[in-house]
């Protein structure tokens, strides 16, 4: 499984791997917001948590359709499926490499972008923490969508339609942690729920996504 993780990260780092694409999209999206809503400091500060969460969510979506589709197209998914690595493990590794190459850069990138959106100073820690806990759920749920759409021609749009509704709970509680943190309210409840969503996704989705892959490989 480590070999697969190393390979996927290696591929993401090579030309055409798409590393940085999500981050660049995140940057542009959040840069556009002040142009859209005006440069009012207070307004921007109030909507910053929501904007950053939305931006992170959409950036995550960008690289999802490549997750299994590339391996399916060149035939290596067949070969991996007949290798000693269980498909559940493959799903877990794919989600982990997606998080390392997309989710983690977004978490780190959210700090300077929060500054640009006038996020209140005491909100930064909660913002980063909520993304750190929430983005693994985004990668896992996206992995399930990608496994479901593998083999579908032009599956990218279908994938977005399937995955975005599933992202709603993560978005609600993630953005709530960041918003409550920024306004100085207690964040305990949404933080626990966000953590719960992530843990449940990590525990259950490998089974569901592996079942989807098995059906799609036939």
């Amino acid at each position: 499984m480590i070999a697969l993780l190393v390979r996927d990260i290696q591929l993401a780092l090579r030309a055409g791997g798409g590393l940085g694409l999500g981050l660049a999209f995140f940057l542009i999206l959040t840069t556009l917001v002040p142009f859209g809503v005006g440069a009012d400091r207070q307004l921007l500060g109030a909507i910053a948590p929501g904007i950053l969460w939305l931006g992170a969510l959409l950036s995550c979506l960008l690289s999802l359709d490549r997750l299994f589709a590339l391996d399916f197209e060149d035939g290596s998914l067949d070969l991996i499926a007949t290798s000693p690595i269980p498909l559940e493990g493959v799903v877990l590794v794919k989600a982990l490499s997606h998080w390392l190459t997309t989710g983690l850069p977004l978490v780190l990138g959210s700090a300077p972008l929060g500054l640009m959106l006038h996020l209140p100073a005491h909100g930064f820690g909660w913002m980063i923490l909520s993304l750190l806990i929430g983005t693994p759920a985004l990668s896992m749920i996206g992995c399930f969508g990608a496994a479901l759409c593998v083999g579908v021609k032009r599956g990218g749009l279908l994938l977005s339609l399937l995955v975005l509704p599933l992202y709603i709970p993560t978005l609600i509680f993630g953005a709530d942690v960041a918003r409550r943190g920024a306004t100085g309210m207690s964040v305990e409840t949404p933080l626990l729920l966000l953590g719960g969503i992530s843990l449940a996704a990590i525990a259950l989705i490998p089974l569901a996504a592996a079942a989807c892959l098995r059906v799609n490989l036939r």
Partner: protein
């Protein structure tokens, strides 16, 4: 390590293709599948490899004894020849890649990106992969496609060596492989199923 198939039925896209297929494949032997295009060779091989369910019959295979190579090579274009092979060697915890590179005359190409290889070179890399898996039963779907005569020769020699070491191979092909080791031919034409649709939806099996 013996593969024993009894009365297999294979279906694809809701249609039964082949039925009553029985064979046994012993260590040191090769079984060559022949049959017209579309008869169901690939479906049968994928079924035996565990990629799709067999509709009926009994298949006895030792767990984790086989490796499958299909029509697509499965290389990553942005990884070099050596990196691609090393990946598979690590996944299967198999032998190091040096001998496999030599066996398929890939030493000079080891640092080339797999995406820049010719079709025949890619196929040689796909076959070299088999040698680094350390698996005993090779399930090969038209392995000689796009190989030149010298490539086919390298392939036959590798199969002969694999069989001599107690391995076995199940190969579908349209050409004469020129194997020296003992092999049986299974012509699939008599097993063609009478056209009928499947009663149930295979997607939900």
């Amino acid at each position: 390590m013996t593969v024993i198939a009894t009365d297999l039925v294979v279906a694809r896209a809701g249609r039964v293709l082949l039925e009553h297929i029985s064979f046994s494949l012993h260590p040191g032997n090769a079984l060559v599948l022949k049959g017209a295009n579309g008869i169901g060779k690939t479906t049968l091989l994928r079924g035996i490899a565990g990629l799709q369910p067999l509709m009926a019959g009994k298949l006895s295979v030792t767990d984790d004894s086989h490796v499958y190579a299909g029509h697509q090579d499965g290389h990553k274009a942005m990884l070099s020849v050596a990196e691609n092979l090393t990946f598979w060697s690590r996944v299967f915890k198999g032998p190091p890649i040096e001998r496999a590179l030599e066996q398929f005359d890939l030493v000079a190409l080891r640092n080339r990106l797999a995406g820049t290889l010719s079709a025949g070179q890619k196929r040689r890399l796909a076959l070299a992969r088999l040698c680094v898996t350390g698996r005993k039963v090779w399930i090969l779907d038209e392995p000689t496609v796009s190989l030149d005569d010298a490539g086919v020769d390298l392939f036959s020699k590798t199969i002969d060596a694999h069989l001599a070491q107690g391995g076995s191979a199940l190969i579908s092909t349209h050409i004469d492989l020129g194997l020296k080791a003992p092999f049986d031919i299974l012509d699939l034409s008599p097993f063609r199923a009478t056209p009928r649709a499947l009663a149930m939806d295979e997607a939900f099996l």
